[in-house]
């Protein structure tokens, strides 16, 4: 029995194809990204080793830091909006009628491609014919915004479809977690005379704090990597007003052919993601210790 289940040939046969794929397409490229960052390279011609020049430039690059700030803003914004989703989930999970249907309606935008969402919201934000401004006009607003064309609000305009896209996903997770809170605990609290609010804050929320941490992590790291929607809607513009790290990397590499510098930005993105993952887990952990 043991012998059959530890047949080395079979183990290799079963694991090596998948292992080869993730090593070749995920791990090796990550290392190469750091290595290409040491090169002056246009993607076609010869690479020239230039040491840490790209990384030094990166640290002094204002556009990179502005993009990083935009990515962090998105992360902060996404994390804050988790509280709204949590509140909605608390109501949804309190045995109300139609919660199943509502939950599924909320999830629909999450199923659409970022391209479809981006194109749809570009139409919604169309200054003259879009739904957003037509609605504002109906409410008597006169100086309607130009949304994506206004550097001052373009980034925040993009946050709206991001929220729209992900709301249902987080509500789904919280709802599932809340449904997992054992009925006995709720019943016991009811008998002890806990109010709905007390029940939420003292019992349900502490019990799902583990899931909450996971979602904070997802929101933070997901925001740092955010790309598709911004690339399609504004391409980082106008004038860099909605540039994020991934879109900046893409522009440098695939539009301006600075593959060396683009790699350095890509490597910076990786480092930032790892640091933020570590930081988020550290921060959420210390909160736990206080409890």
């Amino acid at each position: 029995m043991k012998k059959v289940m530890s047949n080395k040939f079979v183990i290799a046969l079963y694991t090596l194809p998948a292992l080869f794929l993730i090593l070749a397409l995920i791990y090796i490229p990550i290392v190469l990204s750091g290595y290409y960052g040491l090169m002056d390279w246009d993607g076609i011609g010869q690479m020239t080793f230039i040491g840490l020049d790209n990384y030094v430039t990166l640290i002094q690059d204002k556009v990179f830091w502005t993009s990083t700030w935009h990515s962090l803003l998105l992360a902060i914004f996404s994390t804050a909006s988790l509280l709204l989703y949590l509140a909605i989930s608390l109501v949804l999970a309190s045995k109300i009628k139609g919660s199943d249907l509502l939950r599924k309606i909320y999830l629909i935008p999450m199923l659409l491609s970022s391209v479809a969402i981006a194109q749809l919201w570009m139409k919604i934000f169309d200054p003259t014919n879009g739904m957003a401004n037509k609605l504002l006009e109906m409410f008597g607003v006169e100086n309607t915004p130009v949304w994506l064309a206004d550097p001052a609000i373009a980034l925040f305009a993009i946050f709206i479809p991001v929220i729209w896209q992900y709301a249902g996903f987080y509500i789904l997770i919280y709802y599932a977690a809340l449904k997992n809170v054992p009925d006995e605990v709720i019943e016991a609290a009811k008998i002890d005379g806990a109010s709905a609010l007390q029940m939420a804050f003292k019992i349900k929320l502490p019990l799902i704090s583990g899931i909450f941490k996971v979602t904070v992590m997802l929101a933070v790291v997901g925001s740092l990597k955010y790309f598709d929607l911004i690339y399609v809607m504004t391409g980082g513009g106008p004038n860099g007003a909605s540039e994020v790290i991934a879109s900046y990397m893409y522009k440098e590499a695939f539009k301006l052919n600075n593959f060396g510098y683009g790699s350095a930005i890509g490597f910076g993105l990786l480092v930032l993601c790892l640091v933020m993952t570590w930081l988020t887990s550290k921060l959420t952990k210390s909160k736990d210790d206080v409890q």
Partner: protein, 298 residues
Amino acid sequence: MSKVSSPQAASLDLSVPDKSKKSLLNKIGFGFLYLILGVFAIIQIYPLVWLVFFSLKTNQEVFGMSPFSLPQDPQWANYTKAWTSGNIGLYFFNSVWITILSVALTLILASFVTFAVTRMSWKFSGLVLGLFLVAYMIPLHSTLIPLFNMYNSMNLIDSPVSIVLSYTAFNLPLTIMILLGFYQAFPREIEEAAVMDGCSIHRIFFQITLPMTVPVLSTTGIINMIYNWNEFVFVNTFISSDKWKTLTVGINNFVGQYLTDWGAIGATLVISIVPILLAFLFLSDKIVEGMAAGSVKG
């Protein structure tokens, strides 16, 4: 609540009006909450309704009338225009076969790994599993330039092979995570009995384990399907000729060219999202389950 159930005699009289007052307040409170939930549902759904509306309108209607107005004379011609003047049919076909092939590859490779890690005993199983799980944290954008260079040197740029391989590799971590939970919870007795009976390991895998894991395979399969169907950045980076473009990149280019024809743009977008919405209509429970499972493990 606790006051109502207090044993004092005086409170007995009070309890009745107190209760009805409370239930009225409760009703108002509940009504208010329902209102919020309902408004939220409208926010989530109305942009799509609006999309379907303007896909059936003429430009004059879109520009001149309220965003809540129904299409007066549904312009189905917008759909024929979208389907025939772009390569939408071709993109659609590419999306279908690339998605199916990648999902099939991902599921079989992930099942192999999960089986080897959970059912077989070997020294490095923990390490190998760790490699797959950590890969989930790596942002794919950081791999784009090296991948582009690698595919380029292998003549795989502008080839669907690069897309299928990338989809498979990047979906393996999440798929293995979801399968892992199922495999760990599943009793091993059947497989052990099969070993006792002298069944070969390949037969155990293909004839016992795979059929037993069909429920979780369908869940992860549909999640993978949605991800691949909607994927944009790999195709946008690695594919340049129309021949191999998928729907996301195809519609993005097409819509970019027809900036002013709202009806055709709307129709194109609707065509691209209908398959996903249909899948959701019939398989919503599976999709909900898969999304929850994937995130919680992550």
